[in-house]
């Protein structure tokens, strides 16, 4: 019996316009041709494509044509399908470049490793009829941790007094999640503040996007650690401070070259120059990522050993009566 796609979609999604129903796709190799209204079949499940996902960076919408926002027709649940796009590219990190790759096998492997671990996005992988390894991801209801922090009203001092503690608790849990990956011989590969999401309701910080791979033999986990340092810098400062932001602030006149990031030379790392109430111990953790540093963290354990005690030095939320 022939499969009637229109009838099938209409039965499961009666509100979807029939004239927009496209093709049934079982081979996702040509992912750019798959668009709104197409249905991707993986195993016995059908995913109705709604749009390409986009990432917003530096105020620019960057469309990811290999990532499709879908509705699962059989369950009506939303899902994100990441199709195979094995690109090789050069990541620029400050003045340095790193030869990087997008690896579906790496991401699929990590999804298996972190199944049911709420500190990570969840999903599974399946091969389409052409053998492409497609990742089917749950959608995280929530917002990026950095945006959640940035949008908090009030001054840095108010943030420090009321919110930093809770953010650090979440961040430490997120660091432990990265340590779990490392303990299992895996690297996240793209630790950035927009890859850490704060789930609505639970407040759990969850990592997304594990598909970056690169060569790193001498210090295999350094890039992840570098990313954690950047996230901590944002969390502690409530934002990133470059000369444009701090030029007219009290304490700016005491800032020296060594106070900036070792890699991003316009980012201020020594936040105590601007905010002297930041505990010295917390600032010292940050300073491991500064231009003036002579000692670097090599493991998340070392990083956490210094960071955990800082929690006791940050104002804790008052218990409600």
């Amino acid at each position: 019996m022939d499969f009637d796609l229109r009838e099938f979609v209409h039965r499961h999604q009666p509100n979807f316009p029939i004239r927009r129903i496209g093709r049934l796709v079982t081979d996702t190799t040509d992912f750019t041709s798959i668009g709104y209204g197409d249905v991707i079949r993986l195993g016995d499940v059908h995913y109705l494509v709604l749009r390409d996902e986009a990432e917003r960076r530096f105020s620019i919408e960057d469309f990811k044509f290999w990532v499709k926002r879908c509705t699962t027709l059989e369950t009506r649940q939303p899902a994100i399908l990441k199709l195979v796009f094995h690109e090789e590219f050069t990541q620029r990190i400050g003045p340095l470049s790193i030869r990087s790759f997008r690896s579906e096998t790496k991401e699929a492997r990590i999804l298996d490793l972190v199944r049911d671990d709420p500190r990570f996005m969840q999903g599974f992988s399946l091969r389409d009829e052409a053998g492409n390894l497609v990742r089917v991801l749950d959608i995280i209801r929530g917002k990026r941790l950095d945006m959640a922090i940035y949008n908090l009203p009030g001054t840095h001092r108010e943030y420090f007094d009321t919110d930093l503690y809770a953010m650090l608790v979440r961040f430490i849990s997120a660091c432990e999640a990265i340590k779990f990956l490392h303990d299992n011989g895996e690297r996240h590969g793209d630790v950035r503040r927009d890859h850490l999401w704060l789930e609505s309701g639970t407040g759990t910080a969850r990592w997304i996007d594990f598909d970056y791979a690169y060569e790193a033999h001498a210090n295999p986990y350094a890039l992840d650690l570098f990313g954690l340092g950047n996230v901590l810098l944002f969390i502690t400062g409530k934002q990133i401070f470059t000369p444009r932001e701090f030029a007219h602030m009290d304490g700016a006149d005491r800032i020296v070259e060594d106070d900036h990031s070792l890699i991003f030379r316009n980012r201020l790392v020594n936040l105590r120059r601007l905010f002297p109430y930041i505990p010295e111990e917390l600032n010292r953790v940050l300073m491991h990522f500064a231009a003036g540093s002579e000692v670097f963290y090599e493991t998340v354990d070392e990083f956490l050993t210094d960071l955990r005690p800082c929690l006791d030095l940050v104002p804790q939320p008052k218990e409600e009566a």
């Binding site: 790496k106 210090n219 350094a222 570098f226 670097f296």
Partner: protein, 163 residues
């Protein structure tokens, strides 16, 4: 600790060859020295390749290059006066190798320096020699520095860093 018992760690780089030449100069004509050439195999990550075949090919090429370098280094040392009975080799294969090769020990890929340090301890060497790439502080931070880690970690042995 016998500083004349030398562990010479190499990959297939020019820096490693400079270290080989330096050891040859020092130990070649002198009595009492022994040299072990150590190569910790680093194969390309599987994740960097679209399929098994491409990965295996890259691994084969890397292994061939490392083996060739070891041969060249050995010949070089012999040519500089290190006799074969004072020269040994240790090629530590990668545990993540795509080739089926059971062995007593393999490299876990946890960091080249750490594996060199393990070999240093296990073999009771008095001297460890490495070449230095001469990286910037930023590069060292992001990509690591084998020589720096060895300098900071070695106890009870001599470290020669050949720049």
């Amino acid at each position: 600790m016998n500083f004349k018992k030398i562990l010479l760690a190499v990959d297939a780089s020019d820096n490693a060859m400079r270290a080989v030449e330096y050891v040859g100069d020092i130990a070649g004509d002198c009595a009492g020295f022994s040299v072990e050439l150590l190569c910790i195999e680093r194969l390309p990550h599987r994740d960097l390749y679209p399929d098994e075949e491409a990965w295996k090919k890259a691994c084969e090429a890397t292994r061939t290059e490392l083996r060739k370098f070891l041969n060249r280094a050995r010949d070089h040392l012999v040519g500089m006066g290190v006799s074969l009975d004072r020269l040994t080799e240790q090629y530590v294969t990668s545990c993540a190798s795509p080739f089926d090769e059971p062995g007593p020990a393999c490299s876990q890929g946890t960091g080249t320096a750490q594996e060199i340090l393990n070999a240093l301890d296990a073999g009771g060497f008095g001297t460890v020699v490495v070449g230095r790439r001469g990286v910037s502080k930023a590069e060292e931070f992001l990509f690591g520095s084998v020589s720096n880690k060895i300098i900071h970690s070695v106890k009870n042995s001599t470290v020669w860093v050949v720049a």
